[in-house]
Each structure stands twice: as C-alpha cells, then as structure tokens.
C-alpha cells in the first residue's frame, strides 16, 4: 500500500545514490590497487579527479538527507535510512581521500621494493579490495549478513598493519639512510589500515539501518 509517492521516490533515490557512491569508491580502491602494483602518473591524476566526483556525490546525498529530515520528518526505517545516509557518506568519502593520498605516494616514491620489503602489504591490499567489493554489494542489496561478515575482516587488517609496522621498524634500523622511503611505506600501510576502519564503520551503519543498533547499543 503506497500512499506517499513523492516520499517513496525520494527514499529510493537516496538508496540509489548511496549505492552509486559505494560503487564509485570501490572503483577508486581498485585503481589504487593497480597504482601500487604499477605506478602510473596519468592514472594517478585520474584517480584524484575521480575523488572530486565522489565528494560531489557526498554533497548530493547530504543535501537529500537534510531535505528529507526537514520536509518529511521521517520515522522508523525512513529515519534509520536517512541517518545512515548522513553517516556513511563521510566514511566513504574518507576512503576516497585515502586512496588519493596513496596514489600521490605511488608517483613520488619508487614502489618496486614494496612487496619484497613489506610482504604483508599484498594480503592487506587483497583484503581491502575484497572488503570493498563486499561492502558495495551489501550497500546495494541492504545485505546485513554480508555487512557483518565484512566488518569482521577489519580485525585481520589491523593485525597485518601491526606486522607491517614492525617490518618498517626493522627496515629503518637496518638501513637508516632510507628513512623517508620506508616512512612512505608505513604511510601506505597506515592508509590501508584506515580504509579498513572506514569500511568497518559503513558496515556497522548498514546493520544499524536494519536494527537501530550499533555494537549492541540502541542508538534510537
């Protein structure tokens, strides 16, 4: 029984927009992965451009959410969706930013040694790409189970980051002349770790959208 046509149209549009933004960010993550493996100036600039598009999507979604709050005073699932919308765009946008930061490093720094010097980076990157793909699916299908599964993978990322950090410390101890170089490696692994955190946050909000709870805490 549909009686609020305009409202339903807006709500569906909002869902579509969030899905679109997740997809755009996912694309950026893929590009970032490619850049780490094969640094490329042109592609790197494209990524930075793409990030601007993501920022625009964020603003659109925020505007739509605020306008819905103002005009429709949503409750129940609508209220949860609108607040989810407002929260996830921030995390998604941060993922985009961090990809752009990594892209810049890949241009300024020689990437050849990264995999050999920091062996855990490869699996970190694999996990991130996989998580991001799952996240995009979870967002588009409102799949809470998938979101839950994805969120749990962040733990692995954190462990891998700790290993990377220890490796960097060792590298610096052994080769003090190249501190800057190794710090860039650390930065990349730190950015990847942050991306993992943001993905986890978005997953939590997808669960909230369904249950109204975050970490077993009732938010509304």
């Amino acid at each position: 029984m549909v009686t609020r046509k305009k409202f339903d149209y807006e709500i569906n549009h909002l869902k579509k927009d969030i899905g679109e933004m997740a997809e755009a960010v996912s694309e950026t993550v893929h590009t970032m992965e490619a850049l780490i493996k094969h640094p490329d100036v042109v592609q790197s600039k494209e990524l930075v451009e793409h990030d601007k598009y993501i920022n625009e999507l964020q603003k659109n979604i925020e505007t739509r959410c605020l306008s819905l709050l103002l005009k429709q005073q949503p409750v129940a699932r609508d209220l949860r969706l609108v607040s989810t919308g407002l929260k996830v765009v921030t995390d998604l946008e941060r993922i985009g930013d961090q990809c752009a930061d990594i892209a810049e490093i890949t241009i300024l720094t020689k990437m050849d040694d990264l995999y050999t010097k920091l062996p855990h980076i490869a699996s970190m990157l694999d996990h991130i790409v996989e998580m991001m793909e799952q996240l995009t699916l979870a967002v588009k299908n409102e799949d809470v189970e998938l979101a839950k599964e994805t969120r749990q993978k962040d733990q692995k990322i954190n462990i891998l980051f700790d290993k990377c950090k220890k490796d960097v410390v060792m590298l610096i101890k052994e080769d003090e002349g190249n501190i800057d170089y190794y710090l860039d490696f650390l930065m990349i692994s730190k950015y990847l770790e942050k991306i993992g955190d943001h993905i986890k946050n978005v997953c939590e909000w997808i669960e909230f959208n369904e249950t109204g709870m975050i970490d077993n805490f009732k938010l509304v």
């Binding site: 029984m1 409750v75 109204g212 509304v220």
Partner: protein, 252 residues
C-alpha cells in the same frame, strides 16, 4: 521502575454488533505520558473513554474484560462514577469551557464535590490555573467570561478545570487538534510538568506530537492494540509491520 496505574486485561467493547475494541491488554504507568495513536475509527478514543466510563452514556455498549485503577475494578457494581471521574479527569478535543466566568469554570469541579469555603476555592482556582500555565494571562480578571478567551487559552482553562479536582489520571482526547501551532506547543510543554504529579493519557492524530511528549505509545488498528512500548522504540524500530506502515505514512 515504573508503577502500573491502570491495568487493562482482555478488554472487549461492542457497539451493538460492532466489535470496537478487541482483547486489549496493557499496563499504563504512573507519572508517565502515554499516547494512543492510530487512524480514525481505530478505537483509540473509544478506549480512552472506557478508562473513566464515559462510554456509559452511550446506549448499546457492551464491555467485558478488566480495567483496574490502583487495583480496583472500575466496572465493579460498587463503583461510584462521580468518584471515579474525580480520580480520572478528562480534557476534550474541542475546548469546552462552560458559559460562565473563568473562576466559576475552575471552581465547578470542587463545588460539585462539595467544597464551599470561599478561601479554599480561591486557592484551588489559583493553583489550578497556575498548574495549567494560564494564571499569568488571566489573573487580572477571573470574573471574565471563559468564552472570551482564545482557543488555546480555553483549552488550558479546561486543563485547569480538570486539575481543580486533584485527579490522579488525566485523559486527553486530541487536546490540540483544534489549536494553532503555538498554543499546541504551550500545551505540549505543559505535559512535562503535568506528568510529575499526574498520569497523563493522550489520544493524538499527530504522530510528531506523540514523539515529542509521550514516554509510551500504543498503536491501534481496527479495534486492536497492535503495538505498545516506549515511544522511542516504537518510532525508531517498530516491531510490527502494520505499525511501521502507519507511522511511516505507507498506510492506505
């Protein structure tokens, strides 16, 4: 910890053939604001009226089930409805001050219950008007006709009139639906104070109003109480699909 003020168990009400309330069971808590929401004709007003037996006036009404006020069955044969309604006051949808002075309106209940002492009445009138946040606006001329007040003032006068008999429960049947937004907000503001002393039960068509003022909300649909719980829970994560459809406006 919430104390139960009114206990309703398996309440059924029939208007002739029409089964208007179906097996309603709920506890209404002391010193809380409880809101009844639902579409027109869902039985929420009918249910409200069973709580002080205003339905007695209507013919062909048959009620079974239990309604207890402080553990006393209000439909018991020994119940004196005058005493019941002194405990359970009522405010109506349309402000309905009597065609007499402000003072006499407020003093109506106390006089009805036998208070004649002028000093005592003065005190009750002043306190009740203060309780309804109307005193400052009318204190200069209590002899003025109640009908000369604005709609919002009239409704607060009706609240004062209900307070004057020192009730324990106040029933409000869409008390702001005939008022402008500012008067509505004043009365909503008043609820916060009222619930400190009284148990307030309000029927409202305005769901935003329920979210603003009510601690608990019950959703009614065609005579059935579909869902009842803390207002926050009901409006954020309703458990029943019908509740969700209604409060999100997808109810045809």
């Amino acid at each position: 910890m919430e104390n139960t003020k009114i206990k309703v168990e398996h309440l059924n009400l029939y208007y002739g053939q029409n089964h208007a309330l179906k097996d309603v069971t709920m506890d209404i808590y002391e010193n809380k604001v409880t809101a009844f929401i639902g579409p027109s004709g869902c039985g929420k007003s009918t249910f409200l009226k069973t709580l002080n037996r205003m339905n007695d006036l209507i013919e062909n009404v048959k009620i079974d089930g239990l309604v207890e006020l402080d553990d006393e069955n209000i439909y018991d044969k020994k119940v004196d409805t005058t005493l019941l309604r002194k405990k359970v006051g009522m405010v109506f949808q349309q402000p309905n001050p009597f065609p007499m002075s402000i003072y006499d309106n407020v003093a109506y209940g106390p006089r009805l219950h036998g208070i004649k002492d002028k000093k005592r009445l003065d005190e009750i009138v002043t306190n009740s008007l203060k309780g309804a946040a109307l005193y400052d606006e009318v204190k200069d001329d209590l002899k003025k006709s109640a009908l000369s007040l604005s709609g919002g003032q009239q409704q607060r006068l009706c609240i004062a009139r209900a307070l004057a008999v020192e009730p324990e429960v106040i029933l409000m049947d869409e008390p702001t639906s005939a008022l402008d937004p500012i008067s509505t907000l004043k009365i909503e503001d008043l609820m916060e104070d009222l619930k400190k002393k009284y148990t307030v039960i309000i029927v409202t068509h305005n769901m935003q109003q329920a979210t603003r003022i009510a601690d608990y909300t019950a959703f009614f649909l065609v005579g059935e109480m579909v869902e009842y719980g803390k207002t926050r829970d009901l409006f954020a994560t309703p458990q029943d699909k019908r509740t969700e459809d209604y409060i999100t406006g997808r109810f045809g």
